[in-house]
């Protein structure tokens, strides 16, 4: 794989809050069109990694390079900020707080397009319709206020917003975790389709190993800010090596699963 195929590269990434090391020495490379999972439980630092990549948190040390440009320092001006916005986007977990309650989906996407590209009203309207079709929302839903939409529909609007500027990388920060099972499957399918059509790359931040298996090619397991295991997702889940990965895998209920207390489990692993 050549250098130019890497759309996101993170090296030596570190974040310290006060005396707490949230992320320590994180490294990975994400090729175009591939998907990477960052797996961990609360306090593992996985969300902090996501926030640093999109610029909502400033790294203590390390570099983040997206589409060949360094984004580990705050952007110097509006143009650079917008350029970064066109390279990497994010979809958050909570579909209820992630939309402005006073703006319809269509207005939201239109505003993003206007800020980035300008263009005529007609051009933007066409693009809004195109994005709505991509995420599976009809006209009426795009023109509804967020409070009239269900959680799954709101999350589709959030995905449309993130895709409006055609980013190369999309960070999915637990984006399907809060959705009902039947809706979660719809959104995961939409995400898979978008990847096939657009060649976009995903970084999926998740604690849900089944979702990770469904959507990603490679996975990184984090525990207390440190990467404990990484590899091809299917191999990592079928044959975990690190004790923590084994513990995570063994905690997932399924047919034949019986819950065990930590002590018994530690003995079994």
């Amino acid at each position: 794989m050549s250098e130019s195929d890497i759309v996101l590269s993170v090296s030596g990434l570190r974040k310290v809050f006060g005396t707490q090391v949230a992320v320590d020495d994180m490294n990975f490379e994400l090729p175009a069109g591939k998907s990477l999972a960052i797996v961990g439980e609360s306090g593992s630092g996985k969300t902090t990694v996501a926030r640093m990549i999109v610029g909502l948190e400033k790294p203590t040390a390390g570099t983040i390079i997206a589409c060949g440009r360094d984004r580990s320092k705050p952007s110097r001006n509006g143009a650079e900020r917008k350029l970064r916005g066109r390279e990497v986007q994010i979809v958050f977990q909570d579909p209820y707080s992630s939309l402005d309650p006073r703006q319809t989906g269509a207005d939201l996407v239109d505003e993003v397009l206007r800020v980035h590209h300008g263009g005529s009203g007609d051009e933007r309207a066409n693009r809004v319709a195109e994005l709505a079709a991509l995420v599976g929302l009809d006209q009426r839903q795009m023109n509804a206020m967020p409070k009239a939409l269900s959680g799954g529909q709101r999350q589709r609007v959030a995905i449309a917003r993130a895709l409006a500027t055609d980013p190369r990388v999309l960070i999915l920060d637990e984006s399907v975790a809060a959705l009902d099972v039947s809706i979660q499957a719809q959104v995961l399918n939409v995400l898979a389709d978008i990847r096939d059509q657009r060649g976009i790359s995903y970084v999926l931040i998740s604690h849900d190993l089944a979702v990770v298996r469904q959507l990603t090619d490679e996975a990184i397991v984090m525990q207390r800010g440190v990467v404990v295991e990484r590899g091809v997702t299917s191999e990592l889940l079928d044959n975990p090596q690190h004790p923590y990965t084994k513990l995570l895998r063994a905690s997932v209920p399924g047919p034949g699963w019986t819950p065990q207390r930590a002590r018994e489990r530690a003995a079994a692993v």
Partner: protein, 291 residues
Amino acid sequence: MSIEILDPVAEVIDNAPANRRIPKLGFLGWLSVAVIALALFLAIFGPMLAPYDPTLSNLSYSNVGPIAGHPLGFDDQGRDVLSRLMAGARTTIFGAAFVSLIAIFVGTALALLTAWFGGKTDTFISAALDVLFAFPGILLAVVAAAVFGPSLLSAGLALSIAYSPYVARVLRGAALKERAMTYISALEVQGFGAWRLTLRHLLPNISALIVAQGTILFGFAMVDLAAISFLGLGVQSPNADWGVMVSEGKTSLLQGYPLVSLSAVVCIVSVVAAVSFLGDRLESNSRGGNR
């Protein structure tokens, strides 16, 4: 790709009462609206509609009670009380509106600044506000009168400055909460600038609280301006003002003619009550229905 989305609930919700344009106010709410409308009408047209010259005194009518053509009688200087009430509405209402608008503007600006930048900006502005909190509005107005001479303008400005910390403190909390919403983060990641985010997204989402704060302040301002005029540091006699009328009425009051003070007090209290009630109602409506 075809995912069929069947969604009857969106229709159900579209017709829900939470969405209708006319707010649900109840009888007292609409009564408040009526009182405010009347007050505004008087503030604009009162001086022109007053049946007699509000400053023309005729000592032979001093402290004469209601007679034909003068339903509220005369004050101790023999001026028509109804005319003075109507003429005084302008300075009283617009004075209070001026004070609350300036306080809301300054307070909102400070709240948005602290919420947006956080960190040191927040600490600095909050500390400065704490210092201002130590000065009661009236005291500041007295100082202003001493320095710039007694006038409605200096009293009003002093009150505005004294009120803005209250506004800033209340709105800061709301703005911080809104700032932490992920929709703001998502738009930040899009590369939106601070101006667009605060003015087009953050501000509209705390607007209900701003309106509510404004109405509460309006009530305070009316009472405080009246008190300042009562002390002789605001509107100057012989100009009519409700606060001045309460003050001037005290001599009549002592002589057994309460109507002068009383009519002005009733006007002040009803407008203050109406505005506060409406603000309260609007705020609780918006809290119930927004998200």
